[in-house]
């Protein structure tokens, strides 16, 4: 019996989907390609995380390696959650988070909306606006302490000229009532462009035909804004808030250089407090527990938030 049609077709078919192509098998290549990445992330991220969790149940101190390491159970966690100072730090962080997000979303969205009007030269100005977020936060924070100097600082001089106040009469980073706002201003200056870029991506993804349809229905511009633009851009805004939220919860470099956590403890955000416990007081076990609490907080909040985000996206 001669070869069936199917057999002939099979032999003629390219060997693409055959299990064995020349050289290594796909499976082998997949493993070779993925393994180093997984290995490095396990070694530098996951292993340290597990180690932190272990240390959080002990009284280990890095600067006293010869002390016997004792298992103390949940004692570290109890001490942190019962510590009034930690809660003050948390409040400072919450204040910082809320105000930076409010300012950055409002200004960032407005800018994106305006840039989307496609005026001439918008590309150039967008690039200029984006520059601050590309710079080193520590270097920028350090230089802003100069701008905030009461006697000689540019910031005080400009505020003085605009409001008529005496520029040497107030110190943004030296006064308890102003310092939290000093860090909000710099963070907003630095990171508004980030929110702006995400909003811009969102605005550009809205199909023009929706507006055309609305125009046919004689919907007013205002109505179009609230019923088309805002709902369509909401997932993007939420994404921006997520990224900024996670980043600002971890905030360290900018604020350390700007205020060092002071005056008093007014700008001591959680990661600054954590750094002091871990690398100045060397309470390793205690600070490990602190780190775990922070990580669980971020992870928990982010997961809840992502669920909400997905719901908005599905609408």
């Amino acid at each position: 019996m001669s070869e069936s049609f199917i057999d002939r077709a099979a032999r003629a078919a390219p060997p693409v989907f055959a299990q064995k192509v020349k050289g290594l098998s796909d499976r082998a290549i997949a493993w070779i390609f993925v393994a180093p990445t997984i290995f490095i992330l396990l070694a530098i991220n996951i292993f340290p995380l597990i180690w932190t969790i272990y240390l959080s149940f002990t009284n280990f101190r890095v600067n006293r390696p010869n002390n016997p390491v004792e298992w103390v159970g949940l004692q570290n966690y109890q001490r942190i959650l019962g510590d009034a100072d930690v809660w003050i730090t948390m409040q400072a962080t919450a204040h910082f988070l809320i105000w930076t997000i409010v300012c950055q979303v409002l200004i960032g969205f407005t800018l994106a909306y305006l840039i989307n009007k496609k005026f001439r030269g918008n590309d150039l100005w967008t690039t200029i606006i984006v520059l601050p977020m590309m710079l080193s936060p520590a270097v920028v924070g350090n230089f802003w302490t100069f701008l905030y100097q009461p006697q000689i600082g540019l910031f005080n001089y400009i505020v003085g000229s605009v409001t008529g106040a005496d520029p040497s009469s107030f110190s943004m980073i030296g006064e308890v009532s102003l310092a939290p706002w000093a860090i909000v201003i710099v963070d907003t200056w630095m990171w508004t462009p980030f929110v702006m870029l995400i909003c811009l991506a969102g605005l550009r993804s809205i199909p023009e035909s929706i507006y055309e349809a609305a125009e046919c229905d004689r919907a007013s511009k205002w109505r179009q804004f609230w019923t088309i633009t805002i709902p369509m851009i909401l997932p993007f805004l939420m994404l921006a808030v997520l990224f900024r939220g996670i980043e600002n919860f971890k905030m360290f470099d900018l604020v350390v250089q700007l205020t060092g956590g002071g005056p008093g403890n007014t700008t001591t955000l959680t990661s600054i407090d954590l750094k002091r416990e871990a690398f100045e007081k060397w309470r390793t076990g205690y600070s490990s527990a602190y780190a775990v609490i922070l990580f669980v907080t971020v992870f928990g909040l982010a997961s809840i938030y992502v669920k909400a985000l997905n719901k908005v996206k599905q609408r």
């Binding site: 997949a30 270097v139 350090n142 230089f143 919860f249 360290f252 992870f299």
Partner: protein, 312 residues
């Protein structure tokens, strides 16, 4: 010209333009101030009211690269022939140069660690991204989420065990240690972004190559890599900018040999506080590469920053 209902009116464009340019000018002010301060004399830098017009000098740049000591009045008045211009500049202030500052060293540490970690993150990240994009990797979505979640940890939280681990391995304050650390941090970003770029290359190209007798590996580097090149290049720049600017881990895990510039610049001090022209000079030199990259990269900014999340 086609008519479009969403095309803004001329008045709207003007209004938008004026507002955006106004904001951009305010944003630029601190940056221009950094650059300008770098060219001021110490007296001009702390003058009140702040000086907009001043006589430029490179004093700050000389200060940031050198260590100086005060000369006695007698020595300072002694005329010396054939001094280089920078020595003369310092002499006028009654100082003399005794050596190089550590800025050059720190700057090159930034270059070595920045480029080194970017290189490894890109090589490993591209390979992993290709595998995730083209093969059935078990638990693919979980692995990708795991890779992303590593970025949620505050750097200080992992710094303690990494500090201990590096101490045991002898990696504390070494270039290799910092390269390894930043590679790990950049990898998650690299895998995610490059994965997005490779996903967009039609799989048919590779199939055609395989039919022509290429091996998988050849198809990868002769067909896929050239197609993804611009995406990979812009990812590389994002990685580089991150390692270039990183501060928290650098300040905690390095103390001298391998310390990068961000922890160093704020420590530049002169007589009675920070030497602002020198700080500004150091900062300007350090900011320039990033600014150049940003301008070159502007077309890819959107994709990179939104983590590929805006891809449709």
């Amino acid at each position: 010209m086609s008519f479009s209902v969403t095309e803004p009116s001329l008045r709207q464009k003007w209004f938008a333009g004026v507002m955006v340019v106004g904001y951009a000018l305010i944003t630029m002010l601190p940056l221009l101030w950094i650059v300008a301060t770098g060219f001021k004399s110490s007296a001009d830098s702390i003058a009140y009211p702040p000086k907009i017009l001043f006589e430029p000098t490179v004093e700050g740049y000389v200060n940031v690269f050198t260590t100086q000591t005060r000369l006695s009045t007698q020595l300072a008045s002694e005329p010396r022939e054939n001094l280089p211009w920078y020595e003369q500049l310092v002499r006028e202030k009654g100082n003399t140069i005794v050596g190089q500052s550590r800025y050059t060293e720190r700057f090159f540490n930034s270059v070595i660690i920045g480029f080194g970690s970017t290189f490894f993150a890109i090589v490993l990240g591209t390979a992993a991204a290709y595998a995730f994009s083209r093969f059935k990797v078990p638990l693919k979505d979980d692995l990708l989420f795991f890779i992303l979640s590593t970025r949620m940890m505050p750097p200080i939280a992992v710094a303690i065990p990494i500090f201990l681990m590096f101490r045991n391995l002898g990696l504390n304050d070494t270039h290799a240690g910092m390269i390894l650390l930043y590679t790990a941090i950049n990898l998650s970003l690299a895998v995610w972004l490059i994965n997005g770029f490779i996903d967009e290359i039609p799989i048919e190209y590779e199939e055609a190559a395989l039919i022509d007798g290429y091996t998988r590996f050849q198809a990868f580097y002769k067909v896929v890599l050239p197609q993804a090149a611009t995406g990979i290049a812009s990812t590389a720049i994002f990685c580089l900018i991150f390692s270039w600017n990183e501060y928290a881990l650098a300040v905690l895990l390095t103390s001298g040999t391998a310390q990068t510039a961000p922890p160093f610049i704020p420590t530049i001090i002169g007589v009675g506080g920070q030497d602002w022209p020198a700080v500004a000079a150091g900062a300007t030199i350090f900011l320039v590469p990033v600014m150049v990259f940003t301008i070159l990269l502007r077309k890819h900014l959107l994709r990179g920053i939104t983590f590929g999340a805006v891809r449709k």
